[in-house]
């Protein structure tokens, strides 16, 4: 509320209060008069006649007598009079006094209300000094206009959002296709690399003791050289933790570049204890990128946790042992067991065969299967002792293969 209004309100309230106070004064006077009258009425009938000074005018008096002391004409109102005795008149006066009292009570109530109102306005006046009134101008037409504008804006905004979302989707799709193409290229390159590196490592070392780290990177041509250098550096390190850390750094440095690179590292462990510790340490290190566990395929799990075992625990190879008497046998050696163990790559190679057929290798390199093919007689098994058995039988008489087999089984 503005201070001017508040001041005016206060003034008005003040006026009203004063008016009522005056009325209250008047009525109090009436009451006093009535009380005095009552007293007079009680004393009047004491005497038959009273000697009094009769007033003629406001300043002239005359001695006289008051007779008919008990006959009192009471003005009832509206020019009506009633002749009453003093006692009756006093009763009337009593009633009049009661009425006056009631009026006085009403006045006092009104005063109370006015006072409270005054207090309130005073408080408001005080408040308006501290607070600021916030006014919002409300214009119907303007509101309508604004509503229309707002609706249009909201529609436009939604449209834009939709378009942006659609564009984003297209962009994502394109990225995916590009990534897939890159991956294919990488795989082809990796296969080549592995094949080349395989040639280098053909020096008779068992696979378990070999520490070899391979990095699979999905990047551009430019970055490939960088990665090649880092892989060489890391493979020379003996401690796998260091490797992972350096890899981490290298890959982290490279991950800051616009192209995203994901680095994988495989290292074959000497024993399971080492592998577990290094695994856990790798988990700590490699949070920034893909976790540096060597496990890329189920075979890696086997490698890590079971590759440390001796050759005796290796599962038996599903390939049959070489048969020395067979004409198509390319292997020049005898009846030693061929140990075919799963190598570091996805293809299965038979070690002994591999070592003794270096000449055959170059011919087979473009093919997927790098091992040699050994044909044996269908009856022969991998057990060397059993191989010997059928051979003495053959020159004696010609027996069908199945019968021979049955005979053998019966012998056992």
């Amino acid at each position: 509320m503005e201070p001017a209004h508040v001041a005016r309100l206060e003034a008005e309230l003040e006026k009203a209060v004063q008016k009522i106070q005056e009325k209250v004064k008047q009525w109090n006077k009436y009451r006093d008069d009535y009380v005095a009258l009552k007293e007079r009425l009680t004393t009047l009938p004491d005497k038959v006649t009273h000697d009094i000074m009769v007033p003629f005018t406001s300043v002239a008096f005359m001695p006289g007598q008051l007779v008919h002391t008990n006959e009192i004409l009471v003005l009832l109102g509206d020019n009506w009079f009633a002749e009453r005795s003093a006692k009756e008149a006093s009763e009337i006066v009593d009633r009049r006094i009661a009425a006056v009292d009631k009026s006085l009570g009403d006045f006092s109530e009104e005063l109370k209300l006015l006072e409270s109102r005054r207090h309130f306005t005073r408080d408001v006046a005080q408040e308006s000094l501290d607070h600021r009134e916030i006014r919002e101008v409300y214009d119907e037409e303007e509101e309508k206009k604004w509503k229309e504008e707002h609706r249009k804006n909201v529609r436009r905004y939604h449209q834009q959002k939709r378009e942006a979302a659609a564009k984003q989707e297209d962009q994502v799709n394109e990225d995916l296709w590009r990534r897939l193409d890159e991956l294919e290229m990488q795989e082809a390159r990796n296969n080549e690399m592995y094949r080349l590196s395989d040639d280098e490592d053909g020096d008779g070392k068992p696979p378990e003791s070999r520490t070899k780290s391979r990095l699979i990177k999905w990047e551009d041509e430019e970055k490939l050289q960088l990665a090649g250098s880092t892989s060489e550096g890391s493979s020379s390190a003996a401690d796998t933790n260091e490797e992972t850390e350096s890899d981490d750094e290298a890959s982290e440095a490279q991950s800051n570049s616009p192209r995203k690179t994901i680095f994988f590292k495989h290292t074959e462990k000497v024993d399971t204890v080492h592998s577990t510790t290094s695994n856990s340490s790798q988990e700590e290190n490699g949070d920034a990128q893909k976790p540096k566990s060597k496990i890329n395929s189920p075979r890696d799990i086997y490698l890590q946790f079971a590759a440390s075992s001796s050759p005796l625990d290796q599962p038996k190879s599903i390939l049959k042992a070489s048969n020395p008497g067979h004409p198509t046998d390319y292997t020049s050696q005898g009846r030693s067991q061929t140990i075919c163990s799963p190598g570091p790559v996805s293809d299965v190679t038979c070690q002994d065969v591999e070592t003794q057929n270096p000449a055959l290798k170059p011919a087979n390199t473009p093919q997927a299967f790098t091992g040699s093919v050994i044909e044996r007689s269908s009856l022969s098994t991998s057990n060397t002792t059993e191989v010997q058995d059928p051979t003495p039988l053959q020159p004696q008489k010609r027996v069908s293969k199945f019968k021979a087999q049955r005979l053998q089984q019966e012998k056992r």
Partner: protein, 126 residues
């Protein structure tokens, strides 16, 4: 255009003031009647208290005229009824006058608004 508006404004204002005067007259009349009613009810009360045989006088000018109690009672009762009727009539008139006042006020506001707009336009043009 502004002249016409101004004339209209004046006319409406006068009408409104006339209605307001009437309204106030009737309101004060009603107040008076109300007081009279109260007085007469008091008189009636006192007369009822009077036992039969008491003398009742009516003041007509400077003369006190003796009246019969019964008659006095009746007269007072009649007066009371008359006054109540008058009060009701006055109340109706007051209501009507208030409505008229309202319409006049609205008209005045409208014309005033138009007048202000016209003034603003004139000021803009000038």
């Amino acid at each position: 255009m502004a002249e016409g508006l101004q004339k209209r404004l004046q006319g409406e204002l006068e009408k409104y003031q006339a209605v307001q005067k009437d309204y106030q007259k009737y309101v004060s009349a009603r107040q008076q009647l109300d007081a009279q009613l109260n007085e007469n009810s008091l008189v009636k009360e006192e007369l009822d208290r009077l036992s039969d045989g008491s003398n009742v006088y009516k003041m007509i000018g400077p003369v006190l005229v003796k009246q019969d109690l019964g008659e006095a009672k009746q007269t007072v009762q009649k007066r009371i009824d008359y006054i109540s009727g008058e009060i009701k009539r006055h109340e109706n008139t007051i209501k009507d006058l208030e409505k008229k006042q309202e319409t006049h006020r609205d008209n005045l506001n409208k014309i005033q608004h138009q007048f202000q707009q016209a003034q603003v336009k004139a000021a803009a043009r000038a």
